[in-house]
Amino acid sequence: MSDLIGYLLTGLGIGAGFALVGSGLVAIYRVTRVVNFAQGGFAVLAAMLTSSLLGAGLPHGVAELGGVALGALAGLIVGVVAIGRPGTSPGTSLIVTLGMGVLAYAIEVLIWGDQPRSYPGVTGVAEVAGARFPAHYLLILAVTAPVFLLMAWFFTRTDLGKALSACASNRYAAQVVGIDIRRMGLLAFAIGGALGGLAGVLTTPVQQVTFDSDVTLIVNGFAAAVLGGLTRPVVALAGGLLLGVTQTLAAGYGGGAYQVEVALVLMLTVMIVQAARTGPVPETAR
């Protein structure tokens, strides 16, 4: 029983990372109709910078914020390259994001090398209902929960958030009322970058980061996002948490080697079911 509670809580912690990456994908896709395959790279960049900043003696909190800020900046840069030119089709932009992801590998290896990096987070062991697990997992959950509440507030209660939702809802009407959909797209990329960066800085103390860690993150984040047809952030959150828990349970009771396969099978199943129900393309860009 205490094993189960431990797996659930650590699974939620891991899943929070997937949920953050997934909701970043959703934030970008809703506004721009672009699937951003550079999303996992934001997490890696942010984690790498945080490890350097901590190494340089900066306190916790400041270093992590620096990492998240780099994630947002990287998001903005990917956005400028991917959608900056008016009339770029979402398909073309998708390929551009793939290219930017590979470019990020080169930059990361040049600056930080190809060895895994990590840094200490919250040290010590937490005990909940007899289950013992690294206390850092609780920090991941304690940060992720308010971030999602803040996002919900931003997208539904502020005019800027409503304008982003308006771009997602009807791009033509957004233009008619004078919303600059390209600038909104860039803002969405920056938000996606920050969310990806946050996933990276939060999970690195419990999972080392290497330049190619983005593959695990993007596969799981995409699986979480695709559950909600890439447009529903709440479903992406639930999907991410579900994936994290499923994988931890699979690793705990089965074998650790099958973690990514769990995400892939789930994603494929969801995509096949959705395709059978609604047709292969969920929503065509106007």
Partner: protein, 227 residues
Amino acid sequence: MTAVVETHDLTVRYSGATALDGVDLTVHDHEMVALIGANGAGKSTLVKALSGLIRPASGTITVNGRLAQVPEGREMFGDLTVDDNLRLGGWRNGRHGRDTTAIYDLLPELTTVRHRKAGALSGGQQQMVAIGRALMARPDILVIDELSLGLAPLIVTTLVDHLRTLNTDRGLAVLLIEQNARLALDLCDRAYVLEAGRIALQGPAATLADDPRVAAAYLGGHVAVTP
């Protein structure tokens, strides 16, 4: 009378094909002007050019004041509430220009549905939201692309009444693009007839309504009987 909108020799091309060819069109302040024409005559292209959504190949567009558009097909933000739809209509005004209270005074029918999703409304209600959203921009001229399309006659009457009130009480100029030529010529002071991207006819609406060419092409072949 000063011109709120004036185009001079306006030409728009889509990848080589000419959609508008040397259009001269003027709407003065306090004026209601109709633009009628068949499908593909270039009406929607003119709307988009006036709103700055497409760039003309040549010619000039002068807008003195603010122009707001009621787009064809109503184009709701379907999963946002009516109130949010209206609020975003004031996007260009900045934060303090986004208070929606005045719109509910102008269009009281919207009060009861203000918290509903715009996508769940009837066509007539959506058209009213589209007009309210355009009014949020505090326009000097409203460009309406198809007011009556797909709406029940009773609803169209309500919308027309609102437009008349806005025009007489607030001096709002209106450029009405309309399939229903009879409705447009009844409502408006002047009219233009667009054919294959060119202005074929223009003049006072009453004169055009009696013109046999207009009657044959746009009024079902009958000249309106005027006592």
